[in-house]
């Protein structure tokens, strides 16, 4: 793999930043326009992944392992967060039999 890749010219870092920014904005857009909570959670995962890509790109270009180690922590946190989030969804579903965000507007005055 190394020999294969080392023959190739690489892409500039700006392209990776742009790609991550686009993915991040798609994720943010998804959180704003969808009302299904599960899909909203997935869009948040997408945002975290764009961050991971950005960190890896920087780490690779700077020849510094810290960024890639940070990605591990992001993955760990994402896993824990999703577990809790799905727990909350199950809890709500038990009470309301729905996961539509707008039915949950009891608190609005």
């Amino acid at each position: 793999m190394n020999t294969f890749l080392s023959t190739l010219p690489a892409v500039p870092i700006n392209s990776y930043i742009a790609l991550s920014a686009v993915l991040f904005c798609i994720g943010a857009l998804g959180v704003m326009i969808r009302r299904n909570i599960i899909i909203m959670l997935m869009c948040i995962e997408l945002m975290l992944n764009s961050v991971n890509l950005l960190l890896t790109a920087f780490s690779s270009f700077k020849n510094d392992a810290d960024g890639q180690v940070f990605v591990f922590f992001v993955m760990a946190v994402a896993a824990a967060e999703v577990a809790v989030g799905l727990g909350i969804i199950v809890m709500i579903y038990r009470n309301t039999f729905s996961i539509d965000i707008d039915r949950l507007s009891e608190l609005k005055n």
Binding site: L5, S6, L8, P9, A10, V11, P12, I13, N14, S15, Y16, I17, L19, A21, V22, L23, C25, I26, L29, G30, M32, I33, R34, R35, N36, I38, I39, M42, C43, N49, N52, L53, T56, A57, S59, S60, F61, N63, A65, D66, Q68, V69, F73, M75, A76, V77, A78, A79, A80, V82, A83, V84, L86, G87, I88, V90, M91, I99, D100, D102
Partner: protein, 169 residues
Amino acid sequence: MSTLLFYIFSLLTIVSAIGVVVSKTPINSILSLIATFFFISCHYILLNAQFLGIVNMIVYAGAIMVLFLFTIMLLNLNKDSEPQHNNFVKVSAVIASGMLLIVLLSAFKDTININHNTLAVVHTNQVGLLQNLGTVLFTKFLVPFEISSVLFIAGVVGAVVLGKKEIGE
């Protein structure tokens, strides 16, 4: 050729990411998201971060997405009954995130012009290899590694107490 591969993977990533946002049912969203993760893993391999590429598939596509699928199957949520936001909300959301994108991109336009010596580093560096990452993780990042166990305790306790059925329910 690497540039070509980059653009192909980027295109596929963005298309499948849009698929996550626009698909009607949660199952389709999940499948698109798995595709997105796969293409992001391809990017990792292109960046010579091979271990991350594999871990990304194992953790995200293998564990997190299965968790999502389980929830959807258990609660039988895969119905297309999601009421839609009115168009005003949608348009303003699109405008908001479009502006965010423009701001981000314009800020990045004048970034780092890395010369070709640095570019060559990407394909020859060894930072993404397992041995190197492991060394850094267990020396420099030992404390965060240990502290993340507290995070998992919180996550486990949360998932159990919230998901558990109470007596009499």
